[in-house]
Symmetry: C2
Subunit: 218 residues, 2 copies
Amino acid sequence: MTRSEENYLKAIFHLGGGDSKSITTNAIAEQMETKPSSVTDMAKKLSEKGLVDYVRYQGVSLTEAGVQTALSIIRKHRLWEVFLVKKLDFTWDEVHEVAEQLEHIKSEKLIDKIDELLDFPKYDPHGDPIPTKDGKFQERDEKLLSEMPINSKGVCVGVKDSSVPFLKFLDKNNIALGNTIQILDKEDFDNSLRIRMEGNEMRISHQIASNLFVKKNS
Amino acid sequence: MTRSEENYLKAIFHLGGGDSKSITTNAIAEQMETKPSSVTDMAKKLSEKGLVDYVRYQGVSLTEAGVQTALSIIRKHRLWEVFLVKKLDFTWDEVHEVAEQLEHIKSEKLIDKIDELLDFPKYDPHGDPIPTKDGKFQERDEKLLSEMPINSKGVCVGVKDSSVPFLKFLDKNNIALGNTIQILDKEDFDNSLRIRMEGNEMRISHQIASNLFVKKNS
DNA sequence: CATTTAATTTAGACAAAACGAAAAATAAAT
DNA sequence: ATTTATTTTTCGTTTTGTCTAAATTAAATG
Ligand SMILES: [Mn+2]
Ligand SMILES: [Mn+2]
Ligand SMILES: [Mn+2]
Ligand SMILES: [Mn+2]
């Protein structure tokens, strides 16, 4: 399994190709910042290896083997991100780039020991769930902040957009995972929200609210 | 700097090419388990980049830039080895293979933080010195156990052969770095030694003794 | 010094991964 | 039902790293 093959499987998974949904060549090319012709080449190779189902002019979807491989890469990626934050004091906007490299290290013992060292975390620094060793996903009951009703309360548990600029913006505005949030008001005009977060009242644009995951209080 | 280029620089350094000594194509090929013709190709490329001096039919030696690059890879390799042993309970015969991969991760912050986490170790699990960030080597006053005079005492500080079989042999015979050693007797016939190690008397073949580094007591 | 031997380089080929241009297939519009 | 537009594939080429076989150079031998 080459690094390139692993990256393709991961990309296809993130585009929803794990649910036997067909992902188009163009979508994969865009996600991976490569060209459609390159994707076609790889689709054939991965199909040969039994990791994807590929139908010409239709797209690809992951086979069961493909899903398991993708999950194992994602598991490594997210565990390394936790390691970087918890053990080496990286900030949450610095970890992705390094994890892109570390996820390809081949050693089952290594990642199991990292998992143990971190006390088996369930979520990465951006709130994304970490698949278990046997490829199970623990989903969480969460919704976008922008979809919460007025007066409801919750805890901020994840980001949808985990780009560096967005993460830095959140830092600057003291918005962090784990913070409690209450929706005070919605502005019809621009869909912005007035919220109370950890005691402080603030206004949040729709853009921001639609990129924050919240776990609703029971 | 590609992974392959880094591996060549490291190999040349280990063969002594850091002291402007010319290393032959064949020697590099053997060290890297590749073919001489491949080495020639790479010699040209590294020469283009100013990392080695290459004279056709003579061999290569590292330039100053080449030495610094090699040392930075070796630094990463050895720090990762310490990390694996100290933080993840790897044994000293398991670490090399994984470190071969980890040494190529590109992130200055990452390796500096690992260094800090480990409290700036000076030696790796096999007793090899770890170059400093600015490429300095701290040599140690050590000699081979086979070259120690009768009745002298010392501490076992390193292995010359760090192959898996040798390391496992040492484990099995309770020979570990840090152990105190006293030479009791030398057998002229086969050059074997009688030693006292941590209280126990034992016999050691010349083969073994010539692969153990000892720091002589003042 | 001529000849043999060994080491080294060159040349040609291959595999992996990527790209652009152009052809082919599909989808959308008229 | 055609035409047009878009998507996808095919084909030829590039880069990186490797290999085998042939040619060249250096070293050793007599
Ligand atoms: Mn990430
Ligand atoms: Mn990756
Ligand atoms: Mn090693
Ligand atoms: Mn390496």
